[in-house]
Amino acid sequence: MTLSAAENPLFEFLLRQGDNALVLGHRTSEWCGVAPVLEEDIALANMALDLIGQTQLWLGYAGEVEGAGRTADDLAFLREVYDYRNLLMLEVPNGDFGRTQMRQFLFDAFQVPWLTRLQDSTNTRVAEIAAKCLKEALYHLDRSSHTVIALGDGTEESNRRMSDALTFLWPYSGEVFKVDATDHAMAEAGVAPLPSDLHSVWLETVERVLTEACLTLPEGTFAQSGGRTGFRHTEHLGHMLAVMQTLQRSYPGAAW
Protein backbone atom coordinates (compact mmCIF):
# COMPACT_ATOMS: atom_id res chain seq x y z
CA MET A 1 0.00 0.00 0.00
CA THR A 2 2.21 2.86 1.19
CA LEU A 3 5.82 3.06 0.19
CA SER A 4 8.45 2.19 2.76
CA ALA A 5 10.82 4.76 4.21
CA ALA A 6 13.52 3.63 1.82
CA GLU A 7 11.21 4.13 -1.12
CA ASN A 8 9.92 7.53 -0.03
CA PRO A 9 12.36 9.14 2.40
CA LEU A 10 10.89 12.62 1.92
CA PHE A 11 7.51 11.39 3.15
CA GLU A 12 9.22 9.77 6.11
CA PHE A 13 11.12 12.98 6.84
CA LEU A 14 7.94 15.07 6.72
CA LEU A 15 6.14 12.70 9.07
CA ARG A 16 8.95 13.14 11.56
CA GLN A 17 8.52 16.91 11.48
CA GLY A 18 4.75 16.77 11.57
CA ASP A 19 4.45 14.10 14.23
CA ASN A 20 6.81 15.96 16.55
CA ALA A 21 4.59 19.01 16.32
CA LEU A 22 1.40 16.96 16.58
CA VAL A 23 2.40 14.97 19.63
CA LEU A 24 4.00 17.85 21.51
CA GLY A 25 1.09 20.11 20.62
CA HIS A 26 -1.31 17.53 21.96
CA ARG A 27 0.59 17.07 25.20
CA THR A 28 0.87 20.83 25.66
CA SER A 29 -2.86 21.26 25.11
CA GLU A 30 -3.46 18.95 28.08
CA TRP A 31 -2.40 21.87 30.29
CA CYS A 32 -5.33 24.00 29.23
CA GLY A 33 -7.26 25.06 32.31
CA VAL A 34 -4.93 23.54 34.88
CA ALA A 35 -1.62 25.46 34.63
CA PRO A 36 -0.04 26.97 37.76
CA VAL A 37 -1.23 30.49 36.98
CA LEU A 38 -3.42 32.13 34.34
CA GLU A 39 -0.55 33.79 32.50
CA GLU A 40 1.19 30.43 32.04
CA ASP A 41 -2.08 28.77 31.03
CA ILE A 42 -2.43 31.28 28.23
CA ALA A 43 1.22 30.98 27.21
CA LEU A 44 1.01 27.18 27.04
CA ALA A 45 -2.09 27.39 24.88
CA ASN A 46 -0.25 29.71 22.49
CA MET A 47 2.55 27.20 22.30
CA ALA A 48 0.10 24.38 21.58
CA LEU A 49 -1.68 26.44 18.93
CA ASP A 50 1.61 27.13 17.17
CA LEU A 51 2.39 23.43 17.18
CA ILE A 52 -1.02 22.44 15.84
CA GLY A 53 -0.52 24.95 13.04
CA GLN A 54 2.91 23.48 12.29
CA THR A 55 1.37 20.02 12.22
CA GLN A 56 -1.08 21.10 9.55
CA LEU A 57 1.74 22.41 7.39
CA TRP A 58 4.08 19.43 7.72
CA LEU A 59 1.46 16.70 7.53
CA GLY A 60 -0.40 18.52 4.78
CA TYR A 61 2.73 18.49 2.67
CA ALA A 62 3.46 14.90 3.70
CA GLY A 63 0.08 13.88 2.34
CA GLU A 64 0.85 15.56 -0.97
CA VAL A 65 4.23 13.89 -1.21
CA GLU A 66 2.74 10.51 -0.44
CA GLY A 67 0.30 10.97 -3.28
CA ALA A 68 -2.33 8.67 -1.84
CA GLY A 69 -4.88 11.41 -1.25
CA ARG A 70 -4.45 11.54 2.50
CA THR A 71 -4.95 14.90 4.23
CA ALA A 72 -3.18 16.19 7.33
CA ASP A 73 -6.21 15.09 9.36
CA ASP A 74 -6.13 11.59 7.84
CA LEU A 75 -2.50 11.28 8.83
CA ALA A 76 -3.05 12.68 12.30
CA PHE A 77 -6.15 10.74 13.20
CA LEU A 78 -6.09 7.51 11.26
CA ARG A 79 -2.61 6.04 11.58
CA GLU A 80 -1.53 3.28 13.93
CA VAL A 81 1.00 3.65 16.71
CA TYR A 82 3.86 2.19 14.66
CA ASP A 83 3.21 4.65 11.85
CA TYR A 84 4.04 7.63 14.06
CA ARG A 85 7.47 9.18 13.67
CA ASN A 86 7.74 11.53 16.63
CA LEU A 87 10.51 11.58 19.21
CA LEU A 88 9.82 9.49 22.30
CA MET A 89 10.57 12.47 24.54
CA LEU A 90 7.51 14.25 23.18
CA GLU A 91 5.02 11.45 23.80
CA VAL A 92 5.82 10.65 27.42
CA PRO A 93 3.31 12.18 29.83
CA ASN A 94 3.75 15.81 30.84
CA GLY A 95 4.69 15.16 34.44
CA ASP A 96 4.72 18.34 36.48
CA PHE A 97 4.98 21.84 35.03
CA GLY A 98 8.75 21.71 35.45
CA ARG A 99 9.12 18.57 33.36
CA THR A 100 6.86 20.01 30.69
CA GLN A 101 9.04 23.10 30.49
CA MET A 102 12.28 21.14 30.53
CA ARG A 103 11.07 18.96 27.65
CA GLN A 104 9.95 22.01 25.73
CA PHE A 105 13.36 23.57 26.24
CA LEU A 106 15.34 20.47 25.20
CA PHE A 107 13.20 20.29 22.07
CA ASP A 108 13.32 24.03 21.28
CA ALA A 109 17.10 24.05 21.67
CA PHE A 110 17.20 21.61 18.78
CA GLN A 111 14.36 23.07 16.73
CA VAL A 112 15.86 26.53 16.44
CA PRO A 113 19.13 25.51 14.75
CA TRP A 114 17.33 22.75 12.88
CA LEU A 115 14.66 24.98 11.37
CA THR A 116 17.27 27.63 10.69
CA ARG A 117 19.12 25.14 8.51
CA LEU A 118 15.94 23.85 6.90
CA GLN A 119 15.29 27.34 5.57
CA ASP A 120 18.11 26.63 3.12
CA SER A 121 16.58 23.35 2.00
CA THR A 122 16.73 22.54 -1.70
CA ASN A 123 13.08 21.65 -1.31
CA THR A 124 11.34 25.03 -1.44
CA ARG A 125 8.23 23.82 0.37
CA VAL A 126 10.34 22.55 3.23
CA ALA A 127 12.23 25.85 3.29
CA GLU A 128 8.98 27.84 3.40
CA ILE A 129 7.42 25.80 6.16
CA ALA A 130 10.64 25.93 8.16
CA ALA A 131 10.79 29.72 7.87
CA LYS A 132 7.31 30.05 9.31
CA CYS A 133 7.94 27.54 12.10
CA LEU A 134 11.27 29.10 13.01
CA LYS A 135 9.69 32.37 14.13
CA GLU A 136 7.49 30.44 16.52
CA ALA A 137 10.34 28.22 17.70
CA LEU A 138 12.49 31.24 18.51
CA TYR A 139 9.85 32.56 20.88
CA HIS A 140 9.29 29.10 22.35
CA LEU A 141 13.00 28.79 23.08
CA ASP A 142 13.07 32.24 24.63
CA ARG A 143 10.17 31.40 26.91
CA SER A 144 11.14 27.84 27.80
CA SER A 145 14.78 28.67 28.52
CA HIS A 146 13.80 31.55 30.80
CA THR A 147 11.33 29.33 32.61
CA VAL A 148 13.88 26.55 33.03
CA ILE A 149 16.37 29.07 34.39
CA ALA A 150 13.85 30.59 36.79
CA LEU A 151 12.66 27.23 38.09
CA GLY A 152 16.16 25.81 38.36
CA ASP A 153 17.38 28.85 40.24
CA GLY A 154 14.20 29.56 42.23
CA THR A 155 13.89 27.50 45.40
CA GLU A 156 15.31 24.31 46.80
CA GLU A 157 12.15 22.46 45.86
CA SER A 158 12.01 23.85 42.34
CA ASN A 159 15.69 23.03 41.78
CA ARG A 160 15.10 19.47 42.90
CA ARG A 161 12.07 19.12 40.64
CA MET A 162 13.95 20.48 37.64
CA SER A 163 16.85 18.21 38.38
CA ASP A 164 14.47 15.23 38.48
CA ALA A 165 12.91 16.35 35.23
CA LEU A 166 16.30 16.53 33.59
CA THR A 167 17.27 13.09 34.86
CA PHE A 168 14.04 11.67 33.51
CA LEU A 169 14.23 13.34 30.11
CA TRP A 170 17.93 13.14 29.41
CA PRO A 171 17.99 9.58 28.04
CA TYR A 172 15.28 10.61 25.57
CA SER A 173 16.98 13.80 24.47
CA GLY A 174 19.62 12.07 22.35
CA GLU A 175 17.21 10.23 20.07
CA VAL A 176 17.09 13.01 17.52
CA PHE A 177 20.83 12.72 16.86
CA LYS A 178 20.76 9.03 15.96
CA VAL A 179 20.80 9.21 12.20
CA ASP A 180 19.52 6.56 9.84
CA ALA A 181 19.05 5.96 6.13
CA THR A 182 16.25 8.52 5.89
CA ASP A 183 18.48 11.22 7.35
CA HIS A 184 21.27 10.34 4.94
CA ALA A 185 18.91 10.39 2.00
CA MET A 186 17.66 13.85 3.01
CA ALA A 187 21.20 15.11 3.50
CA GLU A 188 22.31 13.82 0.13
CA ALA A 189 19.35 15.45 -1.56
CA GLY A 190 20.09 18.73 0.22
CA VAL A 191 16.66 18.71 1.86
CA ALA A 192 18.01 18.77 5.41
CA PRO A 193 21.29 18.60 7.28
CA LEU A 194 22.12 15.51 9.28
CA PRO A 195 20.60 16.06 12.72
CA SER A 196 23.85 14.83 14.22
CA ASP A 197 25.59 17.86 12.69
CA LEU A 198 23.62 20.02 15.12
CA HIS A 199 24.57 18.12 18.23
CA SER A 200 27.31 20.48 19.33
CA VAL A 201 25.27 23.64 18.88
CA TRP A 202 22.36 22.01 20.73
CA LEU A 203 24.65 20.95 23.55
CA GLU A 204 26.09 24.43 23.79
CA THR A 205 22.65 25.95 24.31
CA VAL A 206 21.67 23.25 26.77
CA GLU A 207 24.86 23.66 28.79
CA ARG A 208 24.55 27.43 28.91
CA VAL A 209 20.94 27.38 30.09
CA LEU A 210 21.39 24.54 32.56
CA THR A 211 24.38 26.30 34.11
CA GLU A 212 22.35 29.44 34.56
CA ALA A 213 19.57 27.29 35.97
CA CYS A 214 21.96 25.87 38.62
CA LEU A 215 21.51 22.40 37.15
CA THR A 216 24.16 19.85 36.24
CA LEU A 217 24.38 18.46 32.76
CA PRO A 218 23.85 14.70 33.08
CA GLU A 219 26.86 12.61 32.12
CA GLY A 220 25.07 9.72 30.48
CA THR A 221 25.23 9.49 26.73
CA PHE A 222 22.81 6.60 26.37
CA ALA A 223 19.85 7.52 24.22
CA GLN A 224 16.50 5.76 23.97
CA SER A 225 15.27 5.40 20.45
CA GLY A 226 12.45 3.98 18.40
CA GLY A 227 10.15 6.98 18.10
CA ARG A 228 11.39 8.71 14.98
CA THR A 229 11.85 5.39 13.22
CA GLY A 230 8.54 4.09 14.53
CA PHE A 231 10.20 0.84 15.52
CA ARG A 232 9.31 0.97 19.22
CA HIS A 233 7.29 3.76 20.82
CA THR A 234 6.60 4.01 24.53
CA GLU A 235 3.39 2.56 25.93
CA HIS A 236 2.12 6.10 26.35
CA LEU A 237 1.59 6.87 22.69
CA GLY A 238 -1.13 4.26 22.33
CA HIS A 239 -3.12 5.82 25.15
CA MET A 240 -2.63 9.25 23.71
CA LEU A 241 -3.88 8.13 20.30
CA ALA A 242 -6.84 6.30 21.82
CA VAL A 243 -7.98 9.64 23.17
CA MET A 244 -6.97 11.77 20.23
CA GLN A 245 -8.43 9.52 17.54
CA THR A 246 -11.63 8.50 19.29
CA LEU A 247 -14.10 10.41 17.12
CA GLN A 248 -12.44 9.68 13.81
CA ARG A 249 -12.19 6.00 14.69
CA SER A 250 -15.69 5.69 16.12
CA TYR A 251 -17.50 7.41 13.26
CA PRO A 252 -15.64 6.55 10.08
CA GLY A 253 -16.32 8.95 7.26
CA ALA A 254 -18.19 11.53 9.34
CA ALA A 255 -17.37 15.19 8.75
CA TRP A 256 -16.96 17.47 11.74
Partner: protein, 96 residues
Protein backbone atom coordinates in the same frame (compact mmCIF):
# COMPACT_ATOMS: atom_id res chain seq x y z
CA UNK B 1 -3.15 32.06 54.36
CA UNK B 2 -0.64 34.63 53.16
CA UNK B 3 -0.16 35.78 49.63
CA UNK B 4 3.53 36.39 49.82
CA UNK B 5 4.09 34.47 46.61
CA UNK B 6 1.64 36.45 44.54
CA UNK B 7 3.47 37.93 41.59
CA UNK B 8 3.39 41.72 41.34
CA UNK B 9 0.85 43.44 39.13
CA UNK B 10 2.06 45.09 35.91
CA UNK B 11 0.35 47.55 33.62
CA UNK B 12 0.73 46.80 29.93
CA UNK B 13 0.99 49.30 27.10
CA UNK B 14 0.98 48.24 23.47
CA UNK B 15 1.76 50.09 20.28
CA UNK B 16 -0.28 48.79 17.37
CA UNK B 17 0.55 48.49 13.70
CA UNK B 18 -0.35 51.97 12.60
CA UNK B 19 2.14 54.24 14.30
CA UNK B 20 -0.12 55.32 17.16
CA UNK B 21 1.29 55.83 20.64
CA UNK B 22 1.50 53.00 23.13
CA UNK B 23 -1.90 52.51 24.67
CA UNK B 24 -2.83 51.02 28.01
CA UNK B 25 -4.45 47.65 27.28
CA UNK B 26 -4.72 46.05 30.70
CA UNK B 27 -2.76 44.41 33.47
CA UNK B 28 -1.26 41.07 34.39
CA UNK B 29 0.89 39.37 36.98
CA UNK B 30 4.54 38.48 36.45
CA UNK B 31 7.58 37.77 38.58
CA UNK B 32 9.73 40.49 37.00
CA UNK B 33 9.83 42.93 34.11
CA UNK B 34 11.11 40.51 31.48
CA UNK B 35 8.58 37.93 32.51
CA UNK B 36 5.92 40.63 32.28
CA UNK B 37 6.92 41.40 28.70
CA UNK B 38 6.65 37.75 27.73
CA UNK B 39 3.32 37.38 29.51
CA UNK B 40 2.05 40.53 27.84
CA UNK B 41 3.02 39.09 24.48
CA UNK B 42 1.05 35.94 25.24
CA UNK B 43 -1.94 37.60 26.88
CA UNK B 44 -2.41 40.84 24.99
CA UNK B 45 -1.14 40.27 21.45
CA UNK B 46 -2.96 37.05 20.59
CA UNK B 47 -4.86 38.78 17.82
CA UNK B 48 -2.00 40.49 16.13
CA UNK B 49 -2.60 43.66 18.13
CA UNK B 50 0.91 44.92 18.63
CA UNK B 51 4.42 45.64 17.47
CA UNK B 52 5.84 46.99 20.72
CA UNK B 53 5.18 46.35 24.41
CA UNK B 54 5.85 48.47 27.48
CA UNK B 55 5.29 47.19 30.98
CA UNK B 56 5.50 49.06 34.24
CA UNK B 57 4.91 47.73 37.70
CA UNK B 58 1.51 49.02 38.81
CA UNK B 59 2.81 50.37 42.11
CA UNK B 60 5.30 52.59 40.26
CA UNK B 61 2.54 54.59 38.61
CA UNK B 62 1.71 57.93 40.13
CA UNK B 63 -1.84 58.97 39.37
CA UNK B 64 -3.56 62.30 39.73
CA UNK B 65 -5.92 62.54 42.65
CA UNK B 66 -9.61 62.49 41.68
CA UNK B 67 -10.43 65.16 44.25
CA UNK B 68 -8.08 67.52 42.40
CA UNK B 69 -10.13 67.07 39.25
CA UNK B 70 -11.57 70.59 39.49
CA UNK B 71 -8.35 72.57 39.85
CA UNK B 72 -6.46 70.27 37.49
CA UNK B 73 -8.80 70.15 34.57
CA UNK B 74 -11.49 72.82 34.83
CA UNK B 75 -9.15 75.75 34.04
CA UNK B 76 -8.62 74.32 30.56
CA UNK B 77 -12.32 74.41 29.84
CA UNK B 78 -12.66 78.10 29.05
CA UNK B 79 -9.52 78.36 26.93
CA UNK B 80 -11.61 78.00 23.83
CA UNK B 81 -9.09 80.00 21.81
CA UNK B 82 -6.86 76.91 21.82
CA UNK B 83 -9.24 75.21 19.44
CA UNK B 84 -9.38 75.95 15.71
CA UNK B 85 -13.16 76.45 15.69
CA UNK B 86 -12.70 79.59 17.81
CA UNK B 87 -11.38 81.52 14.82
CA UNK B 88 -13.77 82.54 12.05
CA UNK B 89 -12.05 82.53 8.72
CA UNK B 90 -14.00 83.82 5.71
CA UNK B 91 -15.18 81.10 3.35
CA UNK B 92 -13.36 82.68 0.42
CA UNK B 93 -10.03 81.87 2.03
CA UNK B 94 -10.76 78.19 1.61
CA UNK B 95 -9.61 75.31 3.74
CA UNK B 96 -7.22 76.17 6.55
Amino acid sequence: MTHENEWPLWEVFIRGQHGMSHRHVGSLHAADAEHAIRNARDVYTRRNEGVSIWVVEAKEITASNPSDKGPLFDPARDKVYRHPTFYDIPKEVGKM
